[in-house]
Amino acid sequence: MSARDVLVSLLVSAYPDLRRRLAGRLGSADLANDALHDTFVRLHRAEISGEVQNPRSYLITMALNIASNSARSEARHLSAFEVEMLIDIPDDMPDPSRAAEARSQLAAVEAALQDLPERRRKLFRRFWAENATYKELSLEYDISERTVRHELLLANRHVHRATQDFCMSELQDRLAQVSFK
């Protein structure tokens, strides 16, 4: 049996015990699961040369390394480019017959924005239309980022409600366009 086979077999057969030990070191069973899965997958891609003296210890070390690398990369902030990629959705060009609909949607949004208290409206505008971040807004308005977030969520709620009717019918239409077998 190759060193890799030994490690894989041990990982499979001792899984519950390994997970328990890792959960203790990493702080949660979920993190331990993640780390062990990644270890399993990495084992299949790795070249393991020579003998592994203590397979159990090897596995734990490998899993811990993977977990700490993950934690570091997962905590990395997304760049503006990455964010744009994530929210990019297919373009749908409305046909001319829907132009009136689009205009009334726009009017509904404008009316909803007028309704907001002034500071909230400004925050909303700075965030959505001018791409300000929580941090920038908290400095500009001398409030905590938590407050920025809270204000935006309230504003979202308001604008969402004001646009709900036509949005729901649009959503239902889109979902109905596909049929299932």
């Binding site: 990644d38 399993f40 997304l78 990629m85 060009m93 924005l113 709620r157 366009q177 596909v178 299932f180």
Partner: protein, 350 residues
């Protein structure tokens, strides 16, 4: 996972508001890679989740239009906001106009996988897989997420294309709707689809550098990366690959990729090929490793085969997609395989 239920307006409204709040968090400047992965997972939960997210994104466009943020796009649609100039791994810059051009899909896919999920995390998972909820899943590419229609693992879906034409999507399939052709047309971004031409005018499927047109009848198309396989099931199919032409009659098949198109093969076992349409998988003397590859397409999580002798064993059988775990019982009893079931729908066969 295979049945999509009806959603009430109230439920959709809740989803849309949640989508809006998630979008807010993403744009806050404080979002991390983990947040990106969670957003991807949320969108993948159901078609309604994806549509709710898109509705939130459209609302953003409306708001930007209302606040005069966009030069054009009065009605909240039109070209998306310009992307900041950024470099990809090779150092080339990617600009705003690249959004809607299919040519850049492969480039964007490469950027997105590394950029979204992070170098180390992606590199440590084989094939770019991710723990989504309780299951190990493939990370869909940005192109796949942007598709007009997408199926999840184990899902099937029929889309009507107009003029009597339709396309049925198999598991993990993404298609885009194409305009500008004389007949209903789709682009196969990834996965497998069965195209049915209408009574009038036929239907077309574009994949990579090839275009396949069925004038009547049905054909199956499958795409893995840039490898495409077109099989005529009935009627005639004309395949054009950069000016080279192939004509397929029923039970004939041709493959192509970005470098070339092959010869036509006849006498294809089309019953096995399209068994997925009926929710089954049929294998006829297929090596176990290929069987497992196919099962992985239809089954959430992942099956790993770690026994070389088993991998080469030819198998025949018919299985129901929603009862694939019966396959493992049979492997255990019939082939003497050891089956280890791990959390996250992981199965290890040894």
């Amino acid at each position: 996972m295979t049945e999509e239920r009806g959603w009430t307006d109230a439920e959709l409204a809740r989803l849309r508001l949640e989508g809006l709040d998630r979008l807010t968090h993403l744009l806050s400047g404080a979002a991390t890679e983990r947040d990106a992965a969670e957003l991807v997972a949320w969108r993948m939960r159901s078609l309604a989740h994806e549509e709710a997210f898109r509705s939130a994104a459209r609302l953003r466009r409306l708001v930007r239009a209302a606040e005069g943020a966009e030069a054009d796009g009065v009605f909240g649609v039109g070209s998306p906001p310009p992307l900041p100039q950024a470099s990809n791994d090779a150092g080339d810059t990617v600009g705003a106009g690249d959004n809607v051009v299919p040519l850049n899909l492969a480039l964007r896919r490469r950027i997105s996988r590394r950029g979204l999920i992070g170098g180390t995390l992606a590199a440590s998972l084989a094939g770019g897989m991710l723990m989504l909820g309780r299951s190990l899943e493939l990370v869909p590419s940005v192109a796949e997420l942007r598709a007009d229609y997408r199926t999840g693992t184990g899902e099937r879906r029929v889309v009507q294309l107009g003029r009597g034409a339709s396309v049925e999507l198999s598991t993990r399939t993404s298609i885009g709707l194409r305009t500008g052709m004389a007949m209903p047309a789709v682009e196969l971004i990834s996965g497998e689809a069965l195209v049915s031409a209408g009574a009038v005018g036929g239907a077309a499927l574009v994949a990579g550098r090839g275009t396949s047109i069925g004038s009547d009848g049905h054909f199956n198309a499958r795409r893995d990366g840039d490898e495409v396989c077109i099989t005529c099931l009935s009627g005639l199919v004309h395949v054009d690959w950069a000016g080279q032409r192939r004509v397929l009659a029923a039970r004939s098949q041709v493959r192509y990729n970005d470098s070339g198109i092959g010869a036509v093969f006849a006498n294809i076992d089309t019953a096995a090929l399209v068994a997925w349409k009926a929710g089954t998988l049929i294998f006829r003397n297929m090596p176990m490793r290929t069987v497992i590859q196919e099962i992985n397409r239809y089954r959430p999580g992942r099956v790993f085969l770690v026994n070389e002798q088993l991998a080469a064993r030819p198998l025949s059988g018919t299985y129901y997609m929603n009862r694939l775990d019966e396959f493992f019982n049979q492997a255990e009893l019939g082939l003497g395989a050891r089956v280890a079931r791990l959390p996250g729908n992981l199965v290890i066969l040894s």
